[in-house]
Amino acid sequence: MGELVLSNRASAATHTETSDEVTQYLTFAVSDERLAMSIDAVKEIIETPAVTRVPMTPDYIRGVINLRGSVVPVIDLGARLGRGPIILTKRSCIVLVEVHVGDEAHVLGMLVDEVKNILEIAAEDIKPPPEFGSEIRTDFIEAMGRVDDVFVIILSVDHVLSMQELAALRRLSQETASGGSDGES
């Protein structure tokens, strides 16, 4: 990974000269589409280990992995974005992201088809998301970033990995909330 970062820094250096405010983004591919997210939230990127399926969860919850002794949930970004579950290949990776809920930090994994590189995009090249015309849920899109005259979707980590939404576990759990005792769900 180190090499990748260095080479991209060099190529992006031209952007740095033209603008003061530059943010780094990690780009990756899901179903042949190039997506980006702010690098701030990314903790590390790992090869896909064995993922243990968790029963009775929606398909965008791929399962859990053993990350050096702790159990970390993995979100299938393909399924989450409505592109269908990711098919594991040699290139598929898990991007580990830290999500904050209140004071607690939770580590989540995002399964993607391929990690591309790290880009620097100047603030002037960040445009608001389109109001319609995107296949991805609009609240998942934080902004559009222009890279070499092509727009890349910058994902909103807070919404894609919204703890509240993930923890709702809609599918089986609702059906099984028997007896009406689970009124708050």
Binding site: M56, N66, L108, L166, L172, S178, S181, G183, E184
Partner: protein, 746 residues
């Protein structure tokens, strides 16, 4: 816990609650309908009120009670939640924070409130529309309780100290129910009089009788002090009062009062003050300094007569010399020697205990958890490498690791009774406030469980006991009219059951009215009028948020907040809570909790492509599953197990993870599990054997996932999920109910 640390805990709790109240209010600004946030505001006020009440901070209780009442009306839709109202609630939150800071910082709880603060509070309450406020004013109740405290000094204990030495001094304090139990105090005095001479009799009235509204004509408030002279021994006199044993506190002092006083005093000397026998006797006043000095001189003189080497053994004891001198009676010296001896052994016993920081212990247990996982990994590697010679060593290591694990967990085990005894105070204070008579009985206090579990179950238990005292047990008048003893009874019972601890809280109070719960639930929209529910299901509705059958809220608890919190707290500990109640007879709540949160013995099974752990304590047996032995009817599976009808779940069906590559004809296995009083079968593909399981939490994403209690990392590095058997059964039942309804509808 010292008062200061208790106050610190209160401050921390308040800060946390107010923070959650603020968050909830912020959420409500965006969405005034958000029920969860409404509940959060309500709960914050409710809990601060409750804890404030325990400390006797009346002004906090008054203020929060009003806000809570308002929130309850908002919640039920009687008062609309407008933006100005939310703004006022924010101010109320800030006022509560100021109030708590000021009052807790004050040296005494009754210190008068800063007038400016009081005015600010009143102004806020006025803006909340306090004039129309509902609820009982807490002042009257708590005020009279305080008076009662002041008015019942224990002066009577010291009043009848013996003065004349040749008289037996007898103190009798009759209990309230003496007359009701058909006992006549006078008859005892008459009988005693026939044995000798009653020199004098003083009669004393319990101050409580003089309290306004406190006097009950049927209760006994009498206390007697008797001076008796007669040729009898102590057992004879005690025999006179044998029949009054249950209804009376009896103290009999022997005529030789001076001697018995010394003996009593000697027995009461604290261990750390027990020094030389002479000093001991001097301190309690049995000996004068002069007498002691004389004895010590004698001792010194005697020992100088004998040789240097023998001095230790030949030295006469000071006690002996004192008796010889006639300074003191032998009985007193004997008692002094016993006290000295007892203190020595006790000090030795104390030295056997070491106080350890709980955090260090927690760290140790975490490390042992890792050790368990590592030793399992070694086992896997050795097996893979095929080194036969190492098996024996590995067996040894695994045995040791499991011993270390059990011992380490044992370190954190504490008897539950230590934490339960605090409820006695809660019940006592509550009784005074509500004018009830309640006896709290605790059994099974020696049952041990993990300290971390104990700490987390105290809050839900407090809720349940308050509920029992407040809503369950009736007032003495009502109880009598229903033919029950005036004194109510709350019974806490704890015991171990197959790897779990069971805590039962039972009261003999009014019980729950299933029809009223049903009506309430319908009104709240929790059930539809045409739903058919069993009695158990109806009672279980009490655990739904915002449901309460008590019409009038009280100062202590009320409005059904609590039961849903109780359920959530218990479920967060991987436990279950059940409730049974008979109208007019009482209520019993049963809590079942795992003994520890860290490490359990597990049984590993394979189903489909995945592996699962079943807690070994719940596994009853494993049998091979014949191809044709299962029967399926209306979506329910049953098997005939040695003549017993056993429902079962096929894991691959429930989890929808059947392995397509698995050969169809392969035998499956049936794992019979038990939970509570139920039994169930789990059909799995393979049995993989026992293992030590370090429980890893699954995290927030899965907090609402049912049927899975956690995860564990296997020796291979793979993850296996730990199944929650009771929840799986509930899920299967739920699916059956859905299937059943579909059938009925078709």
């Amino acid at each position: 816990m010292s008062l200061d640390s208790a106050r610190q805990a209160f401050l921390a709790e308040v800060a946390e609650l107010l923070q959650s109240m603020e968050d909830a209010l912020l959420a409500l600004e965006d969405d005034p309908e958000d029920a969860e946030s409404l509940n959060a505001v309500f709960r914050a006020m409710h809990t601060i009120k409750g804890t404030g009440g325990v400390f006797g901070y009346d002004s906090i209780v008054d203020f929060t009670h009003t806000v809570e009442t308002l929130m309850d009306r908002v919640r039920s839709g009687q008062v609309p939640l407008t933006r100005p109202l939310i703004a006022t609630l924010f101010e109320c939150r800030d006022h509560t924070a100021r109030l708590v800071d000021t009052i807790v910082a004050a040296s005494t709880p009754d210190e008068p409130l800063d007038p400016e603060l009081a005015r600010a509070g009143e102004a806020l309450l006025a803006r909340l529309g306090h004039s129309g406020g509902a609820g009982v004013s807490p002042e009257s109740a708590s005020g009279s309780a305080a008076d009662a405290n002041a008015a019942s000094p224990s002066a009577s204990d010291t009043k009848y100290l013996p003065v004349v030495s040749d008289l037996w001094m007898i103190t009798l304090r009759f209990k309230r129910d003496t007359f009701r139990d058909g006992i006549d105090p006078l008859s005892f005095l008459r009988y005693l009089g026939s044995l000798g001479e009653l020199v004098h009799v003083t009669t004393q009235l319990d101050p409580e009788a003089l309290r306004e509204d406190g006097f009950d004509a049927e209760s006994c408030y009498l206390e007697f002090g008797l001076g008796f002279r007669g040729e009898v021994d102590k057992p004879t006199i005690a025999g006179v009062f044998e029949f009054a044993d249950q209804d009376c506190e009896i103290r009999i002092l022997e005529p030789d009062t001076a001697q018995s006083k010394y003996l009593d005093l000697l027995a009461a000397v604290p261990d750390d003050q027990v020094g030389w026998i002479g000093d001991l006797l001097l301190r309690i006043g049995a000996l004068t300094q002069g007498e002691l000095d004389r004895a010590l001189e004698t001792q010194a003189a005697e020992s100088s007569d004998v040789g240097e080497g023998e001095s230790e053994t030949r030295k006469r004891r000071v006690g002996e010399i004192l008796v010889e001198q006639g300074s003191i009676k032998p009985a007193v010296v004997e008692q002094a020697a016993r006290t000295q001896e007892a203190a020595r052994t006790r000090r030795q016993e104390e030295a056997h205990f070491i106080r350890v920081d709980a955090q260090r212990l927690g760290h140790l247990i975490d490390l042992i958890g890792e050790l368990v996982t590592s030793s399992a990994a070694i086992r896997v590697l050795v097996k893979r490498a095929g080194v036969e010679d190492m098996n024996e060593v590995i067996d040894g290591v695994e045995y040791l690791v499991s011993e270390i694990r059990d011992n380490a967990l044992q370190l954190r085990m504490v008897p539950i009774g230590d934490s339960l005894s605090r409820f006695k105070r809660v019940v006592r204070d509550t009784c005074r406030e509500l004018g009830k008579e309640i006896e709290l009985v605790i059994t099974g206090g020696e049952t041990e469980l993990d300290k971390t579990v104990v700490e987390k179950m105290i809050d839900p238990l407090t809720h349940l006991i308050r509920n029992a005292v407040d809503h369950g047990i009736e007032t003495p008048e009502v109880r009598r009219s229903r033919g029950k003893p005036a004194q109510g009874r709350v019974h806490i019972n704890a015991y171990h059951d197959s790897g779990h601890i069971v805590v039962e809280i039972a009261d003999d109070g009014a019980g729950l009215d299933a029809e009223r719960i049903r009506a309430k639930a319908e009104a709240a929209g929790l059930v539809k009028p045409d739903d058919v529910l069993t009695r158990e299901e109806t009672l279980r509705l009490i655990f739904a948020p915002g449901l309460s059958t008590k019409e009038q809220a009280t100062n202590l608890s009320g409005r059904g907040v609590g039961m849903d919190v109780v359920r959530r707290n218990i479920e967060a500990l991987r436990g279950t809570v059940e409730l049974d109640s008979r109208l007019g007879e009482g209520t019993q709540v049963t809590i079942v909790l795992p003994l520890t949160l860290a490490i359990i013995d597990g049984f590993l099974v394979g189903a489909g492509a995945d592996q699962y752990v079943i807690p070994l304590s719940q596994v009853a047996e494993c049998v091979e599953m014949g191809a044709a032995s299962g029967v399926k009817r209306h979506g329910e599976h049953y098997i005939n197990l040695r003549g017993e009808v056993l429902p079962f779940i096929r894991l691959t069906e429930l989890f929808e993870n059947a392995d397509p590559e698995r050969r169809a004809g392969r035998r499956e296995s049936l794992v019979v599990v038990r939970f509570g009083h139920h039994k169930m079968g789990l059909v799995v593909d393979t049995l993989l054997g026992e293992l030590q399981t370090v429980i890893k939490p699954l995290g927030k994403v899965f907090e609402r996932l049912r049927g899975v209690a956690g995860a564990t990392i296997l020796g291979t590095g793979d993850i296996a999920l730990i199944l929650d058997v009771a929840e799986l059964a509930a899920i299967a039942e739920g699916q059956r109910a859905v299937a059943g309804r579909r059938l009925a509808g078709a």
